[in-house]
Symmetry: C2
């Protein structure tokens, strides 16, 4: 529902959007039923509603948008006509088609990441875009019958309280502290743990607490698109460094003096690479030299190793999994660890955590209280019991699950897409691959979508939205479906 407030706009001041940027925002637009031009018009209208397309924006010329979306020019022309018919757009000789300004506010106009835009749309037949897992059977059983893992007295005590626990349920904080100490070699007390609504909230709270608008934030690039989205919403200015490039990382930290540096040294998203121990020691030394910068080590994918890794040319071959940064310097106040149960137990638990000095945890908890007063404690109680009793079993189950899928997609890539290259991941849930040639992968992603396969073009994992022939393939479908999906990609 939209209210035109002013249809007169000075053409010289009309904002514009390029065809690639619009294609990114459109996300999975053609995956619903219906004529392509109607789907395209509906999706553009929705982007106007959400403020992702600013009021009065001039849309790209029909021909260039058609090329970016790999559709006929006629499809775009008809979509623009639908928008005009519905009073959403206006065309004028010589100034193209623009959206009629909508009722919106400056704060609503943000740079949205196409990945999250996609998450809000209907999923395609074969989704290789989201690196998310189904519910582990141990977790599903406990959710269905909490009495199997949760004592009567614990349950009664919990439901008698108000249920407001901004720091998280004490039992879960203790279980996470123990898990970090035992399985990751990071000595941790419960007071050093904050429970969050997934790893995403851990990153959002850290950005809200530690970074002011306009401040630089250094990050792996390419990186987890959820971090990019949260950075842009925070108003911070991201500075990207290729994963593992220690010289550029040191330069970026020294030059920009960022409030935050975001790293995923273990099974980096999207490459799946592992940073060797020596480089980890270098980062810790960097953290000592720069006490004003908080270094985030994101362990979200760290528990999913599947063997030796490196470029499939064989250049790179790390040894056993090196320790998290905080294991090398457990008391260094500006090394913060974040993680999640989403990639091992289930994303639907919506449970992540931060491990940091008590002072930072207190600050984050105060921010969490203002954001949502705390995550739901009942599922935290169930999860605490599972972490205590079955962490190794569940993580082993999931690592096998991921390894099987990796083996299937890797075999399919070798068979059906012999011209592609990719980095052999040491673990995680994604492959970072590229097609032959230098063309941006956006057009290929659009074409693949209409064959029913969603992938993430590399540009959306770049903090500067750089054109890139690379793309990310997440392998969470069954091995058979993965094979079918890669076959479909080969036919694009």
């Amino acid at each position: 529902m939209t209210v035109p407030i002013n249809t007169e706009v000075d053409p010289a001041r009309t904002p514009t959007i390029g065809p690639q940027a619009l294609a990114d925002l459109l996300g999975r637009w053609p995956t619903s039923d219906g004529a392509l031009y109607r789907l395209l018009a509906a999706r553009i209208g929705r982007l106007a509603d959400t403020g992702e397309l600013p009021a009065g924006v001039r849309l790209p010329p029909e021909r260039s948008l058609a090329a970016a979306l790999s559709v006929s020019r006629n499809t775009v022309a008809l979509a623009y006509q639908v928008l005009r018919d519905e009073g959403m757009a206006a065309s004028r000789q010589g100034s193209g088609t623009r959206l009629v300004p909508h009722r919106t506010t400056p704060a609503a106009v943000h740079r949205a990441n196409g990945f999250f835009t996609g998450l809000l749309s209907a999923p395609p037949a074969f989704d290789l875009s989201i690196a998310a897992v189904d519910c582990a059977p141990q977790v599903a059983a406990a959710l269905q019958d909490p009495g199997t893992v949760l004592g009567e007295s614990e349950r009664v005590q919990l439901t008698r309280g108000t249920g407001y626990l901004p720091y998280g349920l004490p039992e879960l904080r203790a279980a996470i502290a123990s898990m970090l100490t035992t399985f990751h070699g990071v000595p941790t007390t419960p007071d050093q743990v904050l429970v969050t609504t997934g790893g995403q909230q851990a990153l959002d709270l850290l950005l809200r607490c530690e970074v002011a608008p306009g401040h630089p934030v250094v990050t792996d690039n390419p990186t987890y698109p959820g971090f990019i989205d949260a950075v842009y919403r925070s108003g911070a200015r991201p500075v990207g460094v290729p994963p593992g490039d220690m010289g550029r990382l040191a330069d970026a930290v020294a030059v920009h003096q960022p409030a935050l540096t975001y790293l995923t040294p273990t099974h980096q998203n999207p490459t799946g690479l592992v940073l060797p121990a020596a480089e980890r020691h270098e980062i810790v030394a960097m953290a000592r030299r720069h006490p004003g910068t908080t270094f985030i080590d994101d362990l979200t994918l760290a528990e999913l190793p599947f063997g030796q890794g490196g470029f499939n040319t064989g250049e790179f071959s790390p040894g056993p999994q090196p320790p998290p940064l905080a294991a090398l310097a457990p008391r260094l106040p500006n090394v913060v660890t974040v993680g999640s149960f989403s990639k091992t137990y289930w994303g639907g638990l919506r449970t992540g955590w931060v491990r940091a000095p008590e002072g930072i945890i207190a600050r984050l908890a105060a921010a969490k209280a203002a954001a949502d007063l705390g995550s739901p404690p009942y599922e935290q109680a169930i999860l605490a019991a599972l972490v205590r009793s079955s962490h190794e079993e569940i993580v082993t189950y999931r690592a096998d699950w991921a390894r099987q899928r990796y083996t299937a997609i890797e075999a399919a890539l070798r068979t059906f897409l012999p011209g592609w290259t990719w980095i052999t991941p040491a673990g995680g849930l994604t492959i970072w691959a590229r097609r032959p040639g230098e063309a941006d992968s956006g057009g290929f992603a659009q074409a693949a979508l209409r064959r029913g396969v969603a992938i993430v073009p590399g540009r959306l994992l770049s903090v500067s939205a750089e054109r890139s022939p690379w793309l990310r393939l997440a392998f969470i479908l069954s091995p058979d479906d993965l094979t079918t999906a890669v076959k479909a990609l080969a036919s694009v």
Copy 2:
């Protein structure tokens, strides 16, 4: 854990904090075990860690802080000594005691609301500060054995998915839409509903999407302290209007042209007042005149009526509960309704909602995806089943529960505190009361805390932190405990 980075500060530029403001931030500092001066020192140190006390701040003179906290001057002197001994503070002749600057960032220094600071501390023996309920028995039973309300096929379908649902579980969106249509007379489709982590997140997301830093926000004043906290963190500038003062509301909206106006017309927090139907029609007319302002109607306490209300002098006596704003104008795009299951079902479900036009819902969902990727779906499925089958039963249970407690505290106030006056609430979970005289209630709240009773001084519910003899009493304890608590207040 804190790292002094610079102990040299120009005294002329040292930030200061007044004794009342520090007392507010200290919250429930004396409720743990231990010597008062140690508790005080520990709490001040924590506020430095969280950034709520800015780096290098000059603490109030011992005598004035002692008066604000209703403790002896010696207690404050010893607390300051502990801070000096621990290297957290420094004193210099003629410039008082100041905190040694800590490692922190500009973004971490915010104006924190003492209410939320309190929420993070240990609860006292008798907590009249938090308006939160225990878990309704119907809800506790369903959480303990989800199979009683949730079909096998629904559960299996849910746990096979990724669990990322930024808009909320479709079944719960439908159940909330139906509940609003049936019980509140607000015709609503599922597409107009966003599920949030409690009503608090609904407010936080609206502020993040609709308001830019520095923009004015008009609000009832006094109001829900969680809204005040979220407003200050958003950087917006609150403009307070006494609840029900239609002339000042119209003026504030016309003069400030705010992005948001926040109102709780039904069982206003903290007064419990109900805005009559005629005034609601006025607000809807105001919304039509100001399409650039979003009017929020917060229904969080609307389902807890307990009879006729007004000043206990008998001046004010409303009729039956008038309809929500959106019932008067279901299609007006700038009237947004928010609510929560926290005050009826259980706060520990951490489930609230927004009802708005689809475009605003899409914008909020995109913001929620970046904030936490969505709330946990499993409890949403349980809740959806309960809303469908038992909403009237649960709400009736809770309204009876609240009415019994209201009757008990009201009788105790009449018996033990005959000199106090208060507004007779028409519903809700709080009484807005005042002691005789004009003294700010902050000192009384501090003294009450040391008798084991927590109350909220009116200043913390004021958007301008104005000194006030008023205070808020939440009645969520058992009737017997409420009587004991009021007796304890009478002995302060």
